[in-house]
């Protein structure tokens, strides 16, 4: 038996150690995501980066070499993500690490990137820590952070007459920092506002009826919601049944993203102020081009994940082209201040904190033809919702 084990071990070692032979190889991007755990996001995300990859390669690739993505499933575990990062760097010889969905996994891979001096582009994780308190030279982020999206909503919330606010947020870092940022920004604009109730359902396990009741007990004028996914569906349904949202303004993070809005169908609440992605009604030329290409390729409409996956590849391709090399230090320098077009318009990776200025759409929800959509939306450019440079320098450890 041990002989078998040794043979197996030797085979395993041989398989992992042999590695690829280098010969005018494609440039590889190591992509880590929660493919099996967050399929609702990762399926459109994968299609998004596939589309971008095909576009880049059809145009001759970068530096005369083709781009290639090596994707790995972290199974929702940060420790596995770190191991896969090592695998991608050591075995697949990737030039760049990218991806991740959950904030803590993004932070874990980012810390690996810092330690091993590899460029990491966090495409989806929202935590402010990624670019601020735990920010470093080798980590960049594509999506607007929790703070930025909370700031977009706080701006709208301040315009409402509501004075008594209740919050409902999943009880982990994302929910907590979203509520903290929203509170701080709203109170700065409206000192007369008070927060009368805070609900912290466990992520994925909301006791929706009890939570809706508990919010109602405090008789708020308005509600700030941070729950998403299955929790959101349950909360909306219970709230609708119990009349929780009647005559109450609701401001809700991420709810306008097709990933979370579509499952609500005709139960989509009317008039919530949300951040999201109204893919069907954005008719700017750059978005039309993207949407048409996506539809032609996949016979499906884009979700926000598609835009993120698409932007991730385009960002890395642009950075490699600008650096003229796949050397990490040169890539990092190229990424700082890199400006690229995106389906939402031009965006820039800020040199000061490595956060992109990609924005989000802020609008209201409504039901049309039995489906939830966003109306009366506007594009909130990410650059306008970040703190001033002095504050950012205080938030981010300086190199």
């Amino acid at each position: 038996m041990l002989r078998q084990a040794i043979l197996g071990l030797a085979a395993m070692v041989a398989a992992t150690a042999a590695g690829p032979v280098m010969a005018q190889e494609p440039i590889r991007i190591g992509e880590i995501n929660s493919y099996s755990g967050m399929a609702a996001f990762t399926v459109p995300y994968r299609q998004g980066w596939t589309l971008a990859l095909e576009e880049v390669n059809a145009a001759g690739g970068v530096l005369g070499r083709k781009l290639e993505v090596v994707a790995r499933d972290d199974g929702g575990k940060p420790e596995d993500a770190v191991r896969l990062a090592a695998e991608l760097v050591a075995n697949e010889k990737v030039a760049v690490l990218a991806g991740t969905f959950f904030s803590h996994i993004g932070l874990a891979v980012s810390d690996y990137a810092r330690q091993h001096k590899v460029l990491f582009l966090g495409s989806e994780p929202l935590t402010d820590a990624l670019t601020w308190s735990k920010g470093h030279r080798y980590a960049f982020r594509l999506r607007p952070s929790t703070y930025m999206q909370a700031a977009m909503l706080a701006e709208e919330a301040a315009k409402l007459p509501a004075r008594r606010w209740a919050t409902v947020a999943p009880n982990y870092e994302y929910g907590q920092s979203a509520v903290a940022a929203f509170k701080q920004l709203l109170l700065a604009k409206r000192p007369d506002v008070e927060f009368v109730s805070e609900q912290w359902p466990a992520q994925g396990k909301i006791d929706a009826g009890a939570t809706a009741q508990a919010v109602a007990l405090s008789r708020p004028d308005a509600i700030f919601n941070v729950t998403f996914g299955p929790d959101l569906g349950r909360f909306v349904r219970e709230g609708n049944t119990r009349g929780l949202f009647r005559n109450r303004a609701v401001v809700s993070l991420l709810t306008g993203e097709p990933e979370y809005l579509d499952p609500l169908k005709d139960e989509t609440p009317e008039g919530w102020i949300v951040t999201g992605y109204p893919w069907e009604s954005i008719d700017t030329p750059e978005h039309k081009t993207f949407r048409d290409a996506y539809r032609a390729r996949f016979n499906d409409y884009p979700r926000l994940g598609s835009v993120v996956g698409y932007g991730m590849i385009k960002s890395i391709a642009a950075a490699i082209a600008k650096a003229g090399s796949t050397d990490t230090e040169k890539l990092v320098d190229a990424m700082r201040g890199l400006t690229i077009p995106s389906p939402f318009g031009p965006m820039e990776y800020r040199a000061i904190d490595h956060q992109s200025t990609l924005g989000a759409y802020v609008g209201r929800t409504t039901v049309r033809d039995g489906k939830g959509i966003m109306v009366e939306w506007r594009y909130a450019d990410g650059a306008k919702y970040l703190p001033d440079d002095a504050t950012v320098r205080k938030l981010r450890p300086q190199e």
């Binding site: 041990l2 395993m12 940060p78 075995n91 009880n171 009826g209 508990a214």
Partner: protein, 620 residues
């Protein structure tokens, strides 16, 4: 505190609100009861702890969403329940029937494989998006109860719970089949001796359990979208209900479901940040006071837990020693062959082999099943991380701190549940691990919450992949040899005596309890060391180090390797991590393949991988 007082004042002003909240809790209790009833019936008769019960619940919800569009709402519910019942029959006949005679944890292993298979099968069949079903026709709105809106569907659910309870009671008290099932619950062997066809009985019971889970899932459709996380979300709570109620007791399950449901509803109101931990605190409290649960009967002192008549432990044969030395040499030479990923992967394998071996010491040698062994692994990792973060301890000191912290946790746990044994002990260990996990997630200021503690990289001398690999290899080899040595000492032998025959051991003047207590601390310390090594390999610690899935990983590795053999956990760790690593990187539906492999191993090789070798070698 202020918000707690504020909420209490609001409640005092509006007592009707408390009534509404209690009704909400009761509605939740009903759905919980349906799932738990099936689980407890199946356990009572077949002694199978069915990890896949939550998967049946999830499949019930998905089938219902699809069936409703075809045949309408109420028939759709029925179709879903029956379909899942049929799935239960298939699982029982196809898999479980083949392994009832295997060590009882093997069924657990098989059902865990099933969880993985069903997860990917559901993803493949229904796609990744959440499936929102319609509301129940006629029960869409809410009614006024003392001025508070209460959903009609909640009232319906509140009625369903007792109704199903009454039906089950009738079936078990008034039908011949029910009487036979109860007889089998009380004494399986005697029932069989009296000529009752066990196979059919077990199939029927399993189908009923699955049907109830499917019905529970279907009835959940108007409350939440069917999604791929339902299985694991519901299984942990269902375990709690079954254990608090007393395993095998249906009425107990109902009482426990009501207790948990109502506590949940008011917990949301009064301690909104503690919702994760509240349920497990209740479970721990109930089990410490009543070790067999509310209505459970005191468990009969178990024989072996994994088969009796096992030969005594013998020192390693010369062949095994030679093979072990050869493996060690091979491992020591590995960095000469590669600098790359193989070393990173082997660090994981080694640390987890030590983790699995410590669990095996507890289970195999001590006869104490643990569903929460990750607690020690995680506490070790957090111990090291906190020492590094707050005491600025260098890696060497932090690594020494890891087993210490875990051993202290082991002492505390052993003290708390000195009276429990068997499955109850396993469940208490699960509760303990969940409490530790909740603390890691929710004590943001100290543990960093979900984002964990970062920047935990080795000291410069051990920073290279080769150097850290040697450090891990040295420490795990020492740990593994120490565990092996301990099993052969008088302490290990008397621990085995306490496992196989507690009464005789006591009669001989050994304090079984004290030995088991020490064993928990020792196993904890080794798991803690493994956790510390793992943490420095990853550069960070996260609550997932203490999560249920990590405990399950440990169980799978031990069972794959074989419970009877001291070499088992090492082989199991190599096989499991290696297989998972290859699959994750190469196969899209890797959980399906992994799950199917685990089921196959559980069905085909009851002695685990190490058992195959033993059989080949001709030894018993």
């Amino acid at each position: 505190m202020d918000s707690l007082i504020g909420t209490l004042r609001l409640l005092a002003e509006e007592p009707s609100f408390a009534v509404a909240q209690a009704l909400t809790g009761l509605a939740g209790a009903s759905s919980l009861f349906l799932v738990s009833a099936g689980l407890t019936i199946v356990f009572g008769v077949t002694r199978v702890v069915n990890f896949a019960h939550g998967s049946f619940f999830m499949v019930g919800a998905y089938v219902a969403v699809s069936a409703i569009t075809l045949v309408g709402f109420w028939p759709g519910m029925l179709v879903a329940a029956l379909a899942v019942g049929a799935l239960g029959v298939a699982v029982e006949v196809g898999i479980l029937r083949r392994i009832y005679r295997a060590p009882e944890l093997f069924q657990l292993l098989a059902t865990f494989g099933l969880v993985l298979v069903i997860q990917d099968a559901t993803l493949w069949l229904w796609g990744p998006e959440d499936r929102m079903g319609p509301r129940a026709p006629g029960l869409r709105g809410a009614v006024d109860v003392l001025g508070q809106p209460v959903p009609l569907y909640d009232l319906f659910l509140i009625a369903v719970g007792p109704l199903v309870l009454a039906l089950l009671w009738l079936v078990f008290r008034r039908t011949r089949w029910g009487v036979l099932v109860r007889a089998a619950t009380a004494d399986r062997e005697m029932t069989a001796a009296l000529g009752v066809d066990q196979k059919r009985l077990f199939t029927g019971v399993f189908a009923l359990g699955a049907l109830l889970a499917g019905l529970g899932g279907a009835l959940q459709v108007p409350r939440e979208a069917a999604n791929l996380h339902m299985d694991l979300n519901v299984i942990a709570e269902a375990f709690v209900v079954v254990v608090v109620g007393g395993m095998g007791s249906i009425v107990g399950a109902y009482l426990a479901a009501v207790l948990i449901g109502v506590v949940h509803a008011f917990g949301v109101l009064l301690f909104p940040k503690l919702t994760l931990v509240l349920v497990f605190l209740i479970m721990a409290a109930v089990l410490v006071v009543r070790p067999a649960g509310l209505l459970g009967e005191a468990p009969v002192p178990a024989g072996g837990g994994h088969g009796t008549g096992e030969p005594p432990l013998r020192p390693a044969s010369p062949l095994l020693k030679l093979a072990g030395a050869a493996l060690l040499v091979l491992l020591a030479l590995l960095p000469l062959a590669t600098e790359g990923y193989a070393l990173v992967l082997m660090v994981d394998v080694l640390a987890l082999a030590l983790f699995a071996a410590s669990l095996h010491f507890l289970m195999g040698v001590g006869g104490m099943i643990s569903f929460g062994h990750a607690a020690y692994f995680g506490i070790g990792a957090y111990g090291a991380a906190l020492a590094a973060k707050y005491l600025a301890a260098p890696m060497e000191l932090a690594l020494a701190f890891a087993p210490l912290a875990a051993a202290v946790a082991g002492l505390a746990f052993g003290w708390l549940c000195g009276r429990a044994s068997g499955v109850y002990l396993a469940m208490l260990s699960l509760a303990f691990a969940q409490i530790a996990w909740s603390v890691a997630v929710q004590w943001l200021e100290v543990t960093g919450g979900d984002n964990g503690i970062l920047g935990l990289w080795p000291s410069p001398w051990a920073a290279g992949p080769g150097a850290y690999y040697y450090l891990t290899l040295g420490l795990t080899t020492a740990g593994l040899l120490a565990i092996r040595w301990l099993a052969h000492t008088p302490f290990g032998q008397s621990l085995r005596a306490g496992r196989d025959s507690p009464r005789r051991a006591e009669a001989l003047g050994m304090s079984v309890g004290a030995r088991q207590w020490a064993a928990v601390a020792v196993a904890g310390a080794f798991a803690g060391l493994a956790g510390g090594l793992f943490a420095y390999a990853k550069g960070s610690v996260f609550p997932s180090f203490l999560a249920i899935s990590r405990s399950v990983d440990g169980l799978v590795m031990v069972l794959l390797g074989g419970v009877q053999s001291l070499t088992g956990p090492i082989v199991g760790a190599i096989a499991y991590i290696g297989l998972a690593d290859q699959l994750v990187r190469g196969v899209e539906y890797w959980r399906l393949v992994l799950g199917a492999t685990i089921i196959l191993l559980a069905v085909a090789f009851r002695g685990g991988l190490a058992g195959i070798a033993i059989r080949r070698a001709g030894a018993p």
